[in-house]
């Protein structure tokens, strides 16, 4: 790639936001019809006159100019090892990213290795917390499988939990995937080893927007999330708690007006997915299919009915003796899972929990004056 050293230099200017950098790039290429090579050959006064930059910017650019020769060494090493650089002005720069993140947030330079064509395909991001629930995992598998069958590329962040699962399920169903790194691309040795075969087959692209030597950090992990969102045409959230990367990422995405599909949690799940749906996320079922408003309502009602219908029976059964959730299910001859049953039981006012030996049983609330001996069987 031509001018790689200049691109590395301008893309990591200290204390410049992407918006500022991109604006300068636009001025150079579009407004002035120039390129980085001629830009860096200009004197400071030329910069000042032609680009109306302030003193602080001029200073940091002058400092950066001294780095161009050094960055040539860095660039040579990267290119030698097969890393490719895709600058904002390149035809290879993913249009999805530009469209989603606009000039304000698009990274000015991407470092990649693998099949670059994947950047041009219809894409699906699957995100979620590091501690994935079993439903979240199942959902991830379903969505990844479906995406694969539709020739969509799965975009993920290579974090533990959902991210990693999204990638591995995409591979399991012989799909294609983009790994968006929370670190510089040269620090990903173990990943390149693990996914060597997938990369050379053209099934995986590894991408980083950070300085090639930057080590993993929480800051970069957070900064990586918007890039995942930027690269994806469709975003699916498998699991979110009410703090952390996924939570903040979705909020940010919703704020930017993206449609974000959120797995509707089962009522017994301890999950913040429902909150994200309340905040404007689109609820989807275990297969990633959007749940319509009516359907959602009717489902809620149905659950209510079941609850109401059941609660009477439950109270009847429990009037005689205390039972475990499982035993209640058996007595009612229902196919509701006993986990679900225990959530239901929590919501019935007349029923209370009681510890018997090692098991948790339920009984009808009894006024304190009765000292009822709880049956031991």
């Amino acid at each position: 790639m031509q001018h790689a050293a200049y691109w590395i230099t301008i893309s990591h200017l200290q204390r410049w936001t992407n918006a500022k950098i991109n604006d300068l790039i636009k001025k150079i290429y579009i407004d002035n019809g120039a390129d980085l090579e001629s830009f860096f050959s200009l004197s400071v006064s030329d910069w000042e006159n032609d680009y109306s930059l302030d003193e602080r910017q001029l200073l940091s650019l002058s400092e950066a100019k001294e780095q161009v020769a050094n960055n040539a060494f860095v660039a040579e090493s990267l290119i030698h090892q097969g890393y490719e650089l895709i600058p904002l002005i390149s035809e290879e720069y993913p249009p999805t990213m530009k469209e989603n993140l606009k000039m304000n947030y698009s990274p000015p330079l991407l470092y990649v290795k693998g099949n670059k064509q994947l950047l041009m395909e219809d894409s699906v991001a699957i995100v979620g917390s590091r501690k994935a629930s079993s439903n979240g995992m199942k959902f991830t598998e379903n969505v990844a499988k479906h995406a694969t069958q539709n020739y969509q590329v799965v975009v993920s962040g290579f974090a533990k939990g959902i991210d990693r699962a999204a990638l591995d399920f995409a591979m399991k169903y012989t799909g294609q995937s983009i790994i968006v790194l929370p670190q510089g691309i040269t620090t990903f040795a173990s990943g390149f080893k693990t996914y060597y075969q997938h990369i050379i087959r053209g099934d995986v692209l590894v991408l980083s927007a950070f300085h090639p030597k930057a080590p993993w950090s929480v800051g970069l992990a957070m900064a990586r999330n918007p890039i995942i969102y930027g690269l994806a045409n469709h975003i699916y959230v498998a699991d979110s708690s009410n703090t952390g990367g996924t939570w903040e990422g979705v909020k940010d995405g919703l704020k930017k007006g993206r449609t974000i599909y959120i797995r509707k949690p089962e009522i017994e799940e301890d999950s913040a997915n429902a909150d994200l749906i309340d905040m404007g996320g689109t609820a989807v079922d275990m297969y990633g299919k959007p749940i319509s408003h009516e359907k959602m309502k009717s489902e809620v009602n149905k659950q209510k009915e079941i609850l109401e219908g059941l609660s009477e029976n439950i109270v009847d059964i429990l009037a005689e003796k205390a039972l475990t959730a499982k035993e209640i299910c058996t007595s009612l001859n229902t196919d509701i899972s006993y986990q679900k049953m225990s959530v239901l039981l929590k919501n019935i006012d007349d029923v209370e929990k009681v510890k018997v030996g090692r098991s948790t049983k339920y009984r009808v609330k009894i006024p304190d004056i009765f000292d009822l001996q709880v049956s031991q069987n």
Binding site: Y6, S41, A69, S77, Q81
Partner: protein, 674 residues
């Protein structure tokens, strides 16, 4: 960029370099560099090419990085710069990690003006990390002909410099220099460097050279000629041979004749090489007998003679090698001992420069299946290090694989969608090289001016008269028989036994001796017949040679016990041999040394890692007390890589042996077929 008139520059030149003026051609290059241009400078050895980057380097504010292919070359440049008080250092593999770190630290602090590195340095992760912290004013590339596949000394790592140059900012001055670039190489370098490049080419005439070619009919004649003439030549010189073994053979012959000399080759470790290079500079010896590993960048102004006992592969090689002599401009004798039959050797190198296509495919398949390093490729495919090196370099060149670095280790990675391997390119190069070899023989056999021929061949179009050879104004020389020296040589040959270099600090084994070289006369044939064609016991003639060799070096030593290397395939041959030695020398023999597991024949394994693994921990003693405190003579038939002998030496040392001396019938050299 630095503004400076020639007058100002020459004031500075006197101050820093103790030189009064520039040559016009030097100033042209330097003034362009000071203006920030990119230059390819082709000038003969002794012109003062280095000054063309060293002078700008002290004018610029920051560091100048100089790429140089050889440590010896860097060392020389640095010591002369340091003598002038100019802050120059180098980073290279001959220095410790700490030393290199220290140098980088000094460069970071801006304490250095010039930093020499090898192009391979880009593979080093510390360097790659630290380069970002250096401030660079200029880049220089020494021996730039190494960039071109069409050159006589192509180096794959120089490709990386090209890639770097393409990335360097336009305003950074670059100077590439070489003494030997044909028009084709010049064009190749210019094409690859791209961008705005100015080529400055000087004339190549070395009029202080006296060029001779002397016809010789055999190896013996060469030895006799050298013995007669080298002591009479003025000053100190270099004798170039075709192989490492020849360097040693001629050196032993000179030792025998008491002509002070040293053998030099790339095989020696760096301490010894430095010692010999320093000795050469100080005229400690009459001559150094060397392969072409010696010389590039040896900054000795007064090498008075250069003799080739084997003609090189091309006139360019020849010009490069003789170019090292007579830099002081004083008369210098350049002799080629020419025997057309010697063509076999350079032809062998040309024909066998590349492994077979099948091996290339094998390596591609392995790399496709997993990320592998050089060592893993050698083990996996049972290939030699040089095979793997050559193959990988070519596959890199053809963009079929690439190098990646993981945790400081270099691995090869397959490039998806790459074109299939194209062997035909190397056929073209091979054809070009054969033509070059023909030209070299033409040089030897021609009847007109030799200097003119060399200059024209190297693209020097200038029109001048060349009268400095035995075809023009100098007398012709011929080989003259000399019965005294011929007798001496016969006597020497009979007592010239190969040394087995097995000594290390870790074992009690010392260097042993062989009865003969495997490839010499018919020794190899005799052994092969006995071992593989049921030819019976080793013949008496071989035993006699072995005993003679033993007597020459260890005759006065006392031994307690004879052990022999237990066989892989050849039955009782070695045992019988050992018993005969035991009988004659009256040293008791023991049959206690045995193999505890099956091993492969070492000759089937093509690299030292596999050979070492093959014999590691394979031996045992039936009686564990058998060798305690004993002095042992260890016998085998052939000594190849030495891995078996070394392993047994290690084992016997562990078992308490006091001293182990290996003796064998024959020692192989590099290309011997067993």
């Amino acid at each position: 960029m630095v503004e400076m008139t020639r007058q100002e520059a020459e004031i500075k030149l006197r101050k820093y370099f103790n030189i009064n003026t520039f040559y016009d051609e030097q100033w042209e290059a330097i003034s362009r560099i000071l203006r920030g241009e990119r230059i390819l400078l082709i000038q003969k050895t002794g012109f003062g090419k280095s000054l063309c980057y060293q002078f700008p380097a002290i004018c610029f504010e920051h560091l100048t990085i100089v790429f140089s292919p050889l440590i010896a070359l860097m060392r020389d440049q640095i010591s002369s710069l340091q003598a002038l008080g100019i802050a120059a250092k180098s980073i290279h593999s001959g220095q410790s990690v700490e030393e290199n770190k220290q140098v980088i630290e000094e460069a970071k602090q801006g304490l250095l003006k010039i930093l020499y590195i090898a192009p391979e340095r880009q593979e080093n992760s510390t360097w790659r990390d630290e380069i970002q912290n250096l401030k660079i004013s200029m880049v220089a590339i020494d021996e730039a002909h190494c960039i071109s596949q069409w050159g006589h000394d192509f180096r794959p790592s120089y490709k990386r410099i090209i890639n770097l140059v393409q990335q360097l900012p336009k305003y950074l001055p670059i100077l590439a220099t070489t003494a030997t670039a044909t028009k084709r190489v010049e064009k190749d370098i210019a094409d690859q460097m791209a961008g705005e490049l100015t080529i400055l080419r000087g004339n190549l005439l070395r009029d202080n050279f006296k060029l001779y070619v002397i016809d010789i009919k055999s190896n013996d004649e060469k030895m006799v000629w050298l013995a007669r003439h080298v002591p009479r030549l003025e000053g100190t010189g270099i004798i170039y041979t075709g192989t490492i073994n020849d360097t040693e053979a001629i050196n032993r012959w000179f030792e025998y004749l008491q002509i002070p000399s040293k053998a030099y080759s790339g095989r020696l470790n760096s301490d010894i090489r430095v010692e010999i290079e320093e000795g050469l500079l100080n005229n400690t010896w009459k001559c150094v007998v060397s392969t072409n590993a010696l010389g590039m960048g040896i900054d000795k102004p007064d090498i008075r003679f250069i003799i080739h006992t084997q003609f090189p592969q091309s006139p360019v090689h020849y010009y490069q090698e003789i170019g090292r002599a007579g830099r002081d401009g004083k008369p210098t004798v350049i002799i080629l001992l020419y025997n057309p039959e010697d063509r076999d050797l350079p032809e062998y190198f040309i024909e066998n420069a590349k492994p077979s296509e099948m091996l290339y495919e094998k390596v591609i398949r392995s790399i496709k299946s997993e990320l592998l390093g050089q060592y893993e490729l050698m083990k996996k495919n049972n290939m030699t290090q040089s095979q793997v090196r050559v193959i990988c370099a070519d596959l890199l060149e053809q963009n079929i694989i690439r190098e990646v670095y993981f945790e400081k280790k270099k691995k090869y990675e397959f490039i998806p969608d790459s074109e299939p391997f194209d062997h035909s390119f190397y056929e073209k190069i091979k054809a070009a090289k054969r033509k070059e070899l023909d030209s070299m023989m033409e040089y030897a056999e021609m009847k007109s001016s030799r200097m003119e021929y060399l200059c024209k061949h190297l693209g020097d179009a200038s029109d001048r008269e060349f009268t400095n050879c035995d075809n023009t104004k100098l007398p012709k020389h011929y080989y003259r028989p000399n019965s005294h020296l011929e007798n001496e040589f016969r006597k020497f040959s009979k007592a010239d036994f190969p040394i087995l270099k097995v000594e290390t600090k870790k074992t009690n084994m010392i260097n042993g001796i062989a009865g003969s070289y495997y490839g010499v006369t018919n020794v190899g044939n005799l052994i092969h017949k006995c071992k593989y064609e049921n030819g019976g016991n080793f013949p008496n003639s071989l035993l006699q040679l072995l005993l003679k060799a033993f007597d020459s070096k260890f005759g006065k030593m006392k031994f307690d016990l004879i052990l022999y290397v237990p066989p892989t395939v050849s039955g009782d041959l070695v045992r019988n041999l050992a018993e005969r030695v035991s009988d004659i020398l009256r040293i008791p023999i023991s049959h206690d040394l045995v193999k505890i597991r099956k091993t492969s024949a070492q000759k089937m394994l093509h690299n030292r890692h596999l050979k070492k693994d093959n014999v590691e921990d394979a031996f045992s003693l039936k009686d564990s007390q058998a060798v305690v405190g004993k002095k042992i003579l260890l016998i085998d038939d052939i000594y190849g890589s030495g891995a078996t002998i070394k392993e047994i030496g290690k084992f016997l040392t562990e078992q308490g042996a006091d001293l182990i001396v290996p003796i064998v019938l024959a020692k192989t050299v590099g290309s011997d077929k067993l």
